[in-house]
C-alpha cells in the first residue's frame, strides 16, 4: 500500500474521530416498552395491519401499540405527530418507562425524553397553519372519508363552524372539526379556535402521533370504555408526517390541553383551553 493511500486512510480515520453524529435517541426505553407490551414472542409477529385494525379490544395486551410493518408502503404516509413537552415525568427512569409502556393508542407512537424539535414555527399568539386539509361541508366530509365522522352532541357543538378533510394523510383520511371561540370555549392561544377535533382511522403504522416527549402531565383516561390520554400542564409540540411519509419538523406546532382517545378503529384528538372534565364530557358526547 502506498504512502498516499495510507495518508488518505489516516485522514479518514482522523475525520471519523472528530465527526459529530446527531445525538442518539433513547432507544432502549422505547424498544423495551414495545417488546414488553407486545404479545408474547411467538413464531411470527403480526404483520397485517388490517388484522390488527379489526382485532377487538383486549385490555390485557397493548394491541393498539403501533407496530410498524410495511414502512415502505408509506409513500401515502400519515401524519405523524411529535408531542413534546418538558420535564416532569421524565425525572426517574422508572417513571419514564412506566409512562412509555402505558402511552399509546392506535396510530400513536410514543417516546418519552429527548430534546424538543429544533424548529417550532408556531408559538402562542401567532396565526398558524394548523395543517388542515381542504375545507368542505360536514356532509361533504362524510362522503369523502371512509369512516363515520363523529360530532359532539353537547350543546351547540353538533354543528362545527368549519370542517376540513384530508383524504390522503394519514392513509384512510382525516377530518378536522373547528369551532370558533365562544362562551365556555375560550380561544386557544395555539389554534385561535375554541375547539379543534381531529378524527382519523388509526393505523398501527404509520403513527399519527409519533413520539411523545412529556414535559407536562399525561393522564390515562377512559372515554366510553376505551383508552385515552389527557395532556395538560404545559404546551406540547407535535409534528406532522407529510404526504411522502417524511417527518417534517418545520411543521411542528405547539399545542395546548389535548385529549386523545380511541373509539373503535377511530383515533380522535381534541384540543382546546378546556379542563379535563370538559374535554371528557365533549368526548363522551360524540356520536
Amino acid at each position: 500500500m502506498s504512502q498516499r493511500e495510507l495518508d488518505l486512510e489516516r485522514a479518514l480515520a482522523d475525520l471519523g474521530a472528530s465527526l459529530q453524529f446527531p445525538p442518539t435517541p433513547d432507544l432502549a426505553a422505547t424498544v423495551t416498552a414495545r417488546v414488553e407490551e407486545s404479545p408474547a414472542r411467538a413464531t411470527t409477529r403480526p404483520r397485517s395491519t388490517g388484522r390488527l385494525l379489526r382485532r377487538p379490544h383486549d385490555p390485557s395486551r397493548m394491541w393498539w401499540w403501533p407496530r410498524r410493518a410495511g414502512w415502505r408502503r408509506l409513500a401515502v404516509a400519515g401524519l405523524a405527530v411529535v408531542l413534546l413537552a418538558a420535564a416532569v415525568l421524565i425525572a426517574s427512569p422508572g417513571t419514564r418507562e412506566a409512562v412509555a409502556r402505558r402511552l399509546g393508542l392506535r396510530g400513536v407512537g410514543v417516546r418519552i425524553g429527548g430534546p424538543p424539535p429544533p424548529t417550532v414555527t408556531t408559538t402562542p399568539g401567532t396565526r398558524l397553519d394548523l395543517g388542515l386539509g381542504e375545507r368542505v361541508t360536514l356532509a361533504g366530509a362524510r362522503r369523502r372519508v371512509g369512516f363515520p365522522i363523529l360530532v359532539p352532541a353537547a350543546a351547540g357543538l353538533d354543528r362545527p363552524d368549519a370542517v376540513f378533510v384530508d383524504e390522503a394523510v394519514p392513509a384512510g383520511g382525516r377530518v378536522d372539526l373547528v369551532y370558533r371561540a365562544r362562551t365556555g370555549l375560550p380561544a386557544s392561544p395555539f389554534t385561535d379556535a375554541g375547539l379543534l377535533i381531529t378524527e382519523f382511522r388509526g393505523q398501527p403504522t404509520p403513527e399519527f402521533l409519533k413520539k411523545v416527549t412529556v414535559m407536562g402531565v399525561v393522564q390515562e383516561v377512559t372515554v366510553g370504555g376505551e383508552p385515552g390520554y389527557w395532556f395538560s400542564g404545559a404546551p406540547h409540540f407535535f409534528t406532522y408526517r407529510d404526504a411522502r411519509g417524511d417527518l417534517r419538523e418545520e411543521q411542528t406546532r405547539l399545542a395546548g390541553n389535548t385529549l386523545i382517545w380511541q373509539r373503535g378503529d377511530l383515533t380522535l384528538r381534541l384540543e382546546g383551553e378546556l379542563s379535563k372534565e370538559e374535554a371528557l364530557r365533549i368526548a363522551e358526547s360524540m356520536r
Partner: protein
Amino acid sequence: MEGRPLDEQELVERAREGDARAYEALVRRYQDLAFRTAYVIAGGAADAEDAAQEGFVKAWYALPRFRAGAPFRPWLLAIVANEARNRRRSGRRQDDLALRVAEDRPSGDAAPSPEAAALAGEQRRLLLAAVGRLGEADRQVIACRYFLELSEAEMAAALGCRRGTVKSRLSRALSRLRAAMAEPGGGAGGQLPMTRLPGGDR
C-alpha cells in the same frame, strides 16, 4: 446487586429466552452503533431513529432464530441497515451525511496550537465535503469503515453485500475519493490536504 456486567453472549442468551431486561441492556449497548449506522444509510436523523427502533424490535422477534454463539453485532446491523434502506427508498430527499466536524477535538497527543487546530479543522471539512460528493455506495462504504469503524463482517452486514466484496468496494471508493480530492475545489489543488494532520496513529 449484580457483581459484574453480563457479557454480550449471556445477554443474548437471556434475551433469546424472552428476558426483556437483558434485551434492554443489549439495546443500550448498541443503540449508538445502530442509530449511526442507520443514519449513514438513511441519511436523516428521523429516519435513522425509526429504522434503529424498528430494527431492534424486529431483532427481538427474530432472536429465537439467532444462532447461539454467533457474533451479535453484524446480525443486528444487517437488520437495522435493512430498515434504514427501506426508509431511504421510501423517497426521502438526499440530505446525506449532514455530519459536522467537531472543533474541539484534536486527535493528536499534544495539544496543537490554535492555528494548527484551525488548519486541521479546515482539512477535515474539505475531506468530509469530498466524501459527501461521492456516490451513495462509495459514501456508505467509507462511512462504515472510517466513521463507524465497522469490521469487515459488520460492513458486509450493514451494506448488504458479501464479505468478499467489501474490500474491493472500499478500495474503489477510496480511489474515487482521491480523484475527487484532486478536482478543482475538491481539496488543495490536487495535493492531499490531510497529509499534515496531527495524529494519525490510530
